[in-house]
Amino acid sequence: MLYDSVFVFPNFEVERDYDKCIVCKACVQQCTFDATYYLPYRARVVSKDTNCVGCRRCEAICPTGAIKIRRYQGEFKDNAYWTPRDLKDLYKQAEQGGVILTGGGNDRPYPVYWDHILLDACQVTNPSIDPLREPMELRTYLGRKPDRVEIRYNEDGEPELKTQIVPNLVAEVPVIFAPMSYGALNLNMHRAEAAAAKAMGTYWNTGEGGLHRELYPYGDHTIVQVASGRFGVHAEYLQVSAAMEIKIGQGAKPGIGGHLPGGKVDEEISKTRMIPVGSDALSPAPHHDIYSIEDLRQLIYALKEATNYEKPVSVKIAAVHNVAAIASGIARAGADIIVLDGFRGGTGASPAIVRDNVGIPIEMALAAVDQRLRDEGIRNWVSIIAAGGIRNSGDVIKAVALGADAVYIGTAALLAVGCTLCHKCYTGKCAWGITTNDPYIAKRLNPEIAAERLTNLLKAWAHEMKEMLGLMGINAIESLRGNRLRLRAVGLSREEMEILGVLPAGA
């Protein structure tokens, strides 16, 4: 029997070239997981491989390139069924009797439908449009629209709008920063998201941890979340926002609430969330005032009442099997926007078993919801935001063609500021300074530079999206929205294509 199993089988090994190492100890100072330390009596920097999480901070910071992080070379006996991950997790649980936590999104090899969908392009019969020479429009209105427009004539006999349209969000790029709470992320990351959203004419989402007062000036570009824990929810919070979002579920962990380990709750977070310093912030699995669709309706209208019907209300749900019927109910309950969060969506902290085994792909959920709302003739009532694993502008374009009005990006935004997907967000030790609240480590994330990188990312994606629209001969994104005829499937079953509403390549 093993008495120290977790430490016997590391995931990574830190390979040092001692010819190159100048013993500057930068790696020691940078490693937040204590995988690297200095041995004075040998005058050497050495590693404790079992502590290494593979975040590669040391490798990136090493001035002489002396460090390489490698996957651990030692192998278990080949087994096509029991993977090394299964073994290690099992040893860990046998030892400690706990739930295995993780951060980030589902990394298991489930099918990626984006990669089975290809885009159409124009040839001969239909000229493609050059976005460098012709206008190309990405502006997107998010919110409830009436079924028709009515006009009337003013005294001069000129037509003017008669229909009252309820407030909508307007995004110049249909890409919005996903809900990631203050607490899960530090304030620097929130500062960066807010500034980038403003610069690009889009929005960012607070997540369920409230909005730090310092960021109230960015309210016009802020979607504030109201989750089951109601952390940081008060009248002013709602009033400064551009829109409010009721978080029912999260793609990474459908059916369970948020988790913020007490270790991450410092003074500022405590003030913003309105909870004591150091207390675990575990939001309940359901909203305890929403046990049914009619209860949801009450909360939607409570929020609208509280803000004088001046802001759209969004409802975010995890993509689950019955998502189409649920979405229809949400549209009828009065929501202006529905956010669908697929199973690849990230999390700051979740039981790994839930993240890895629950939910459905966003591609399927999105296609099913868009079709259902059309079948019921109510697609105009709500906008759909697709979330959960959007990796690049190609995914965005495909999501739009499947029926999304806009997308959320969470993981992609973190990557833009240095995340390397080590999935240790829940530890509070993020060496890149993104998900840690340790003020010393959080300084590694410079909010101005991070904002610039986020802005760059959205600019790059916007350029690419315009290129893709242009090659399809389309110059306004609404002509692609739900236009599944411009998509073709490769390597999918008939049933999968039917759900996606996409023809096979060659047809």
Binding site: T125, N126, G377, N475, G482, R484
Partner: protein
């Protein structure tokens, strides 16, 4: 899921007399035939308005059948729902170039009010057309308006005109089309014009937004069964103008929406209205290259896509207005027009008859 055929490189022509003087069929034939280069003899068609003065209040259903069975089934269906005032073979001539012709019939009908239903007659007819086209195998209603009729088929414009004896009709206005199908050679139902009620549309171009235009229309009960992208134009105009009650000029702002950069520079009234139009009718935007002529009992509209990727020329001579893909097609029948111009991208040319005074087609015609 069904598929669609792409169409490209077509020619179109339209003539309207604003005083409702009768224009002989020869004129439109001459104009469309002049654009021979733009077709490949695989589809052509005509629509004339005011051609059935003997049945002004009847919906004239033009139906093509693949076989006798579909005819029997359709006629039974029609008789159950309509009072048939008159029906007959659509008069045709034996024309050597026209082969594999379908069975062609026309019915002049009035809806029966079944069990006191309060449905608007137009909606009733629209539903019947959709129903027949979708459900009855081998039957297609290709014209369903009052006092107007569409004639179309596989062949060149000269042959189709000869076949349907277009020269024997006179109309207040005509539109015509010659087709260059780029995919499977023509099917009779796939030729232009596409019609619904008294809307008739001829189209040159390809609608890149077809997939969403179609899904949008399906929400309102339209079913796209004709396997081509043009039919969505007819249905969108029907939805926006007849059912949503928008003036045609405003509806055109949905079909060929102004760019945001231009809307943002407008004064408040225009900005508010056009922003609302784009928000609500984004799925009705026709994207991709097109020039269309839309005709109805009150007049004619010519419209280009928002960046004018297909030709359209307009001309005025006396009370007549001409629109065609090429100026030569106009000059062929009107050598010295008073004025000739190329309409701007997305700027519709709306030509109502002089007697349609305060109707929606005139109101709001001016640009914002």
């Amino acid at each position: 899921m069904s598929w669609y055929r792409k169409i490209s490189g077509c020619g179109l022509s339209g003539i309207i007399s604003r005083k409702r003087q009768l224009i002989p069929g020869e004129e439109i034939i001459k104009s469309i035939v002049h654009q021979e280069e733009r077709g490949n003899q695989l589809g052509a068609g005509f629509a004339g308005y005011g051609i059935y003065p003997q049945f002004p209040d009847c919906y004239a259903l033009h139906v093509m059948y693949d076989h006798e069975f579909s005819k029997e089934e359709t006629e039974e269906y029609i008789r159950n729902k309509f009072h048939v005032e008159h029906f007959e073979d659509i008069p045709t001539r034996r024309t050597p170039a026209i082969k594999d012709r379908p069975i062609l019939f026309r019915y002049f009908v009035k809806p029966l009010s079944v069990h006191g239903e309060t449905m608007v007659p137009d909606d009733f007819v629209m539903e019947t057309v959709m129903e027949i086209n979708e459900k009855i195998d081998g039957a297609f209603v290709f014209s369903s308006g009052k006092n107007m009729g569409a004639f179309k088929g596989v062949g060149g414009p000269a042959e189709i005109a000869e076949f349907f004896r277009i020269d024997e009709y006179s109309a207040h206005q005509w539109i015509a089309h010659t087709r260059f199908p780029t995919n499977t050679p023509g099917w009779w139902g796939g030729a232009h014009p596409f019609t619904l009620l008294d809307w008739a549309v001829v189209h040159n171009g390809e609608i890149s937004s077809y997939g969403i235009n179609r899904r949008y229309l399906e929400m309102f009960g339209y079913r796209c069964t004709l396997m081509t992208d043009t039919e969505v134009v007819a249905y969108l105009v029907d939805l926006l103008v007849r059912r949503h009650g928008l003036p045609l000029r405003i509806a055109a702002y949905a079909l060929a929406a102004p760019f945001w950069k231009d809307i943002d520079r407008m004064e408040e009234r225009g900005q508010e209205l056009l922003t609302a139009m784009r928000m609500v009718y984004g799925s009705a935007l026709l994207n991709g290259p097109f020039a269309v002529l839309v005709a109805w009992n009150g007049g004619m509209m010519g419209l280009n896509d928002r960046i004018k990727l297909r030709p359209l020329v307009a001309a005025v001579h006396g009370d007549r207005v001409y629109m065609a893909s090429e100026e030569s097609a106009i000059r062929a029948v009107c050598p010295r027009p008073d004025k000739v111009w190329a309409p701007k991208a997305g700027e519709p040319v709306i030509v109502p008859f002089d007697d349609s005074s305060d109707a929606w087609e005139v109101k709001g015609c001016q640009s914002l």
